[in-house]
């Protein structure tokens, strides 16, 4: 075995990897476990690739066959149901992990010089994974996906100046048709993956080059980066990372077996839109705001304002490393980030339970999401301080609120 390795080592130049593995170290502090989120995202992406390749062996990207081929995958292909459910669940988990990765990276201030481009490539990767989700949503060609894509692509059409052209490009025509399906398939399996691989390579290379960032709070508490206790990446961190991967794999298998991803009814382009049509959960905050906006805001159309708002928000998120130029601007950015998180939680809960009679459930979901986010914030606040106490209070409040709302809904 050793001889085979030595054979390959000399020919493939594996020595550089040995060097990097030996050199790479991971700082140890109260927020170290957030480093696992990146590895978790990478693991889920690899699950996406494997299950995606297996699905593509059977999937037929045409309006006449797409739905039937997915149904055949789920009913006739051995473990096809597992592949599709794992693909869909891992996609959703991946986006969720990426949101958390983005949030914790921001909270750790890991975008600081010289890691600005790591942040930028990471934000762009998040955008690409959202595009993965949007393009993949249409592929089963079911009712919900068809009409959600029609609504989603229509939003592109309200972009000022180039909206009509963008809409034509997105749909490959005036409406969502078989051409759109072919286009989305090409995007999903060729264009977006190639862009993702390129950006991911840059992202990982820069992470390797600059090493793990130490959060501001830890720096302030313990001193400069070099003085930090750290552990080797191999095997200390890798072993811990692998624990996370296995747990994620188990979670995926459980979700796929207990909650198989449903297929719905085949799309009927000339039929009426199904009731309660909504996009995937990670687009709900945008969808809900656009729904709530009035037709006109001053001299502007409501949808145009909404699209511009999200465009500006995206640009600000992308430019965070360049906008953070000192404590004052950081305070402003922190305020905006807090507002964004609150906005995301409220709009997602509202969009998920959008019926007026679901107000209690809306509160429950908002409470649960607040609980998750506040728990994430704990390591960033020094223990024993009033801020930490306030945070505990908020955690308790959100959890109690969630449980009370759930109980109320169950017994009313």
């Amino acid at each position: 075995m050793s001889q085979v390795y030595q054979f390959l080592r000399h020919r493939l130049g594996l020595g550089i990897f040995e060097y990097l593995a030996q050199k790479k170290r991971v700082p140890v502090h109260s927020c170290t476990h957030f480093y696992f989120l990146g590895g978790m995202a990478l693991f889920l992406f690899s699950v996406q690739i494997v299950t995606g390749i297996l699905l593509s062996l059977y999937y037929k990207p045409s309006p006449d066959q797409a739905f039937e081929s997915v149904r055949a995958i789920m009913t006739e292909v051995d473990f096809g149901w597992l592949m599709r459910s794992a693909h869909s669940w891992s996609a959703n988990l991946l986006v969720g992990i990426l949101f958390l990765h983005l949030l914790t990276t921001y909270m750790m201030g890991a975008y600081r010089k010289p890691r600005e481009l790591i942040w930028c490539t990471g934000v762009l990767l998040l955008g690409l994974f959202l595009a993965f989700g949007f393009s993949g949503y249409l592929l089963p060609w079911n009712q919900l996906a068809f009409f959600a894509t029609r609504v989603g692509t229509a939003i592109v059409g309200v972009v000022p100046v180039v909206g009509d052209e963008l809409l034509l490009i997105a749909r490959s025509g005036e409406d969502v048709t078989g051409d759109t399906l072919a286009r989305f398939y090409a995007l999903h399996v060729v264009v977006i993956p190639l862009c993702t691989f390129a950006l991911l390579a840059m992202h990982l290379f820069m992470v390797q080059e600059h090493g793990m960032s130490v959060p501001r709070c830890a720096t302030e508490r313990l001193g400069r980066d070099e003085e930090f206790p750290s552990m080797p990446f191999v095997p200390h961190f890798l072993m811990r990372d692998m624990v996370g991967w296995y747990l994620a794999l188990g979670l995926l298998a459980a979700l796929a077996a207990i909650f198989p991803w449903e297929l719905g009814e085949k799309a009927e382009p000339f039929g009426s839109a199904p009731e309660g049509i909504k996009p995937e959960w990670y687009f709900l905050f945008m969808f809900q705001l656009l729904k709530l906006l009035p037709a006109h805001i001053g001299p502007f159309e409501g949808e145009v304002v909404g699209v511009l708002f999200f465009g500006v928000c995206g640009a600000i998120v992308l430019c965070v490393p360049f906008l953070d130029r000192g404590p004052r601007s950081r305070q402003i950015l922190n305020g905006l980030a807090l507002l964004s998180v609150v906005f995301f939680i409220v709009m997602t809960a509202w969009g998920w339970f959008s019926r007026p009679d679901q107000l209690v459930l809306r509160v429950a979901l908002a409470g649960f999401l607040t609980f998750l986010v506040t728990v994430l914030a704990v390591p960033f606040v020094a223990p024993g301080t009033p801020k930490r106490q306030a945070l505990y209070g908020l955690i308790g409040l959100s959890l109690v609120g969630c449980l009370v709302a759930l109980g109320w809904d169950a017994f009313r």
């Binding site: 000022p160 100046v161 200390h236 207990i258 511009l308 600000i316 130029r325 000192g326």
Partner: protein, 528 residues
């Protein structure tokens, strides 16, 4: 610190620029668009002016003779002259085809050549209702004339009309009136001959618009018992089609468009006063048919669901040759739509039994005008069943047998068996769906069982158990197969859980080993 306001300013400038783009996109109107809009407005105004000019322009040639008397603006119009203004007839199909007054009424359209109607041999008068069919038939029975307008036009409406209940009654009444008129004239001549008085003017006894029975009242009996009643208040062409506002049958505003046929017939047939004293085949005419039909499965389908294929009056009774279907032809009338059922009934021994008993086929069980949606409760020997009304064990009617009662009971029992099996299969499919399993295939297959149930219900009309059992057998095969598939899906669900549990065990073991291994590693602080 001093840079921050500038940063915020940059953001605001960026937002303002994007907002400017939005304003340009949504609010502003380009000069080209404005020009187009103005052009559209001016074109629309011009077309409206043209339309109003067209509306105000008469299609009648100058010096058209009819308007002189029959238009209120005419020079010779008087209170006694019937008025027909041009705007009253513009929606008429004939008018739209270019036919003017003289094309139907004859006479000369030119004022210079006008003759008094009485002196004009070309003038076609409508002096009584009895003349209306021939008046319309002048063109509509002439294929060489009708071909000009429609190569496949029917020309048998008038001939059909004279065979209808309306036509027969009208013809008999006209003949009776003519005979009475002849008698009156002969009666008048005798005194003349005897007394040397002036001769009665020819035509003075001609049937006029106030003939007995034509005012909407009950028909008068002429002569003694068994004489034909003098009844001119029967429907003719104009009663259904109108006279100067005749529309195409496909016109949804036409009184003979399917959704209006019932109302049109009801104008007379729901008039209790008009129907009073009138008989058909020695049975008094009813006046509640329309109400009954409107609440029937057919009426609801046509009037509420908008199903134009649902039958209305003329679909069973005929239109120009309208007559109630006879006892032996009811099944044929129903069979025009319910073909398979009618065929089964025609081949059944029960049909002959019905005919012998004078029962009107389908209508015996399903009713005629008030046809309700059939239910399985009509079958069998239950309280609500139709079968038990004759096949009653205690009091059999019309020669009904107890063997028939057994057949009916068996039919119902076996139908219920298939329904139960369908319910069970449906329940298993729903259970599998609830658990997230894919069961669209068996759900689709289950439709075949519903088809078999429908077929079995149809086979009831053969009044034989075997064909019904054959249909039910196919349905039961389908339900058995569907239940097997649904059960397989449920087993698959259980298998997946077992698979999940068995796959999680090695995962947990691996995680445990990893954690143990991690514990053996030196702590972070001790790693340099």
């Amino acid at each position: 610190m001093r840079r921050c306001p500038r940063d915020i300013g940059l953001i605001l400038v960026l937002m303002a620029v994007l907002a400017g783009f939005a304003a340009a996109q949504s609010g502003a109107t380009s000069p080209e668009e404005e020009t187009t809009s103005q052009e559209e407005v001016s074109q629309e105004t011009a077309s409206q002016e043209e339309a109003s000019q067209e509306e105000s322009t008469s299609v009648l040639p100058e010096g058209y003779s009819c308007v002189v008397c029959h238009s209120k603006a005419g020079e010779l119009w008087s209170e006694e002259t019937p008025v027909v203004e041009e705007q009253d007839v513009v929606t008429d199909l004939h008018w739209q085809k270019g036919l003017l007054c003289h094309d139907c009424h004859g006479g000369s359209p030119e004022i210079a050549q006008f003759k008094n109607h009485r002196d004009d041999p070309d003038f076609r008068s409508v002096r009584s209702r009895g003349a209306i069919p021939a008046f319309c038939g002048h063109c509509h029975s002439d294929i060489s004339y009708m071909r000009q307008y429609n190569p496949s036009a029917r020309t048998d409406q008038e001939a059909e009309y004279w065979t209808s209940g309306h036509g027969l009654r009208l013809k008999a009444s006209m003949e009776a009136a003519e005979a009475a008129d002849t008698d009156a004239r002969q009666g008048a001549r005798a005194p003349q001959d005897a007394d040397g008085n002036e001769a009665v003017e020819e035509g003075s006894g001609e049937t006029q618009a106030t003939l007995p029975g034509e005012d909407g009242g009950a028909p008068e009996e002429q002569g003694g018992e068994g004489e034909v009643p003098l009844d001119l208040a029967v429907a003719t062409c104009v009663d259904c089609h109108s006279h100067h506002n005749i529309r195409a049958i496909k016109d949804t505003n036409s009184p003979v468009f399917p959704t209006h046929v019932g109302e049109t017939c009801a104008r007379c047939h729901s008039d209790e006063k008009l129907m009073a004293g009138r008989f058909y085949n020695d049975r008094p005419l009813r006046h509640d048919q329309y109400e009954m039909w409107r609440n029937s499965v057919h009426g609801i389908a046509l009037l509420e669901k908008g199903d134009l294929s649902a039958p209305t009056c003329n679909d069973c009774h005929g239109n120009h040759g309208a007559l109630p279907p006879g006892v032996d032809s009811v099944a044929n009338a129903c069979g025009t739509c319910h073909g398979k059922v009618a065929k089964l009934f025609a081949g059944a021994q029960m049909k002959h039994k019905f005919e012998e008993a004078g029962l009107p086929g389908c209508a015996t069980c399903h009713g005629n005008h008030e046809t309700r949606e059939p239910t399985d409760d009509m079958l069998g020997m239950g309280d609500q069943s139709i079968c038990q009304q004759c096949h009653n064990q205690d009091n059999p009617q019309l020669g009904a047998t107890l063997a028939g009662a057994e057949t009916a009971r068996a039919m119902r029992t076996q139908l219920e068996e298939l329904k139960q099996e369908i319910g069970a299969a449906e329940s298993k499919i729903q259970e599998a769906e609830r658990l997230g399993m894919m069961v669209q295939g068996p759900r689709f297959d289950l439709r075949e069982a519903f088809d078999a149930l429908t077929e079995a219900r149809t086979q009831v009309h053969s009044f034989q158990l075997e064909p019904l059992q054959a249909a039910l057998g196919e349905g039961l095969q389908v339900t058995a197969k569907v239940q097997q598939t649904a059960e397989a899906a449920l087993r698959e669900h259980t298998r997946r859980r077992i698979w999940l549990a068995s796959s999680l065990i090695p995962l947990v073991i691996v995680v445990g080993i990893l954690l143990l291994f991690i514990r053996t590693l030196p702590t972070a602080n001790s790693v340099s």
